[in-house]
Symmetry: C2
Amino acid sequence: MFSGRFDQLVQALRILPSVGPKSAQRMALHLIMKNKEGALGLAHALNEATSYIHECAVCHSLTENEVCDICLSNDRDEQLLCVVESPADVMAIEQSGSFKGKYHVLGGHLSPLDGIGPEEIGIPYLIQRLSDGLVTEVILATNATVEGQATAHYLVEAAKHLPVNMTRIAQGVPQGGELEYVDSHTLSQAVHNRMRMK
Amino acid sequence: MFSGRFDQLVQALRILPSVGPKSAQRMALHLIMKNKEGALGLAHALNEATSYIHECAVCHSLTENEVCDICLSNDRDEQLLCVVESPADVMAIEQSGSFKGKYHVLGGHLSPLDGIGPEEIGIPYLIQRLSDGLVTEVILATNATVEGQATAHYLVEAAKHLPVNMTRIAQGVPQGGELEYVDSHTLSQAVHNRMRMK
Ligand SMILES: [Zn+2]
Ligand SMILES: [Zn+2]
């Protein structure tokens, strides 16, 4: 429609998650008709971000430097290490404001059928990180999926020989969750893991 | 989060219509973690589109050339001219496959309170376009809003002296519309504009 470059822009916008053909068209028209300056700014930000952002050498989260701000921070508890699957999880936990330790990003979860074993998600490197005795508690914050659970269990086994406590983030009914809409697996977990109030 | 350039990318993505802070974050992470090549392609497409796409000199729709493909086409009926508010409307009508004439894009609608009068939406130029006697029917396809209706009525007045038929796209219950969910203004229009079947 309109021109080859218009169609190319619509196609290029389709790489964004949950952007279908209709919203890509709407976005392209909006940018060209109403916000060319914003479009140029977005192009610049995309070029900059792809050039400069990469994995932190220590925790494997994202940074523009050799080592990320969280790893370098003196204000965070080095004895607490939170293990997550991806940088998106680091972001979610940071935004919850519930954690003041350090992180370790696996970059995935165990998935033997896809050929993703302990080496592929850097478990030997994590065990090595734990071997200096600085960390006293590892919080396993992999996803509450079958793969995330399996990965957490594997990590407990792999760290058996180390003098470190390992905990798993709680699973249960989400805040505001109405029981009739919560799936039965979650509900049965929530009953099983019930906590004493009195 | 993560780095300045990450935050800048999240901010830049917010200019896209209906992208809030959460989805901008999700998009930024997706691009950096999963599709750097796509991100670079999008940056390129944005730069190209903003540089090369502009208004058609004849119909004021969008094109990369002096005059758009629809205006130049010999396969379209030059006697039929469809007047719309924006290039998005040209796209919607083209995609409906219901029209084989030419277009005229106003670039807005009359809105006296915002200082948008006939000059601002190029009505004198449209009247001039109609003056060569080539067009025999003008289809008024401005939006079915108060402003779109007012603009259509104004155009009928402005073209009173010209030997040209003017029609308005039909208003009524949309395809698949269940009456109980259709607003009462639309319903009353639909009853008023009822069509004889037998
Ligand atoms: Zn780090
Ligand atoms: Zn044109």
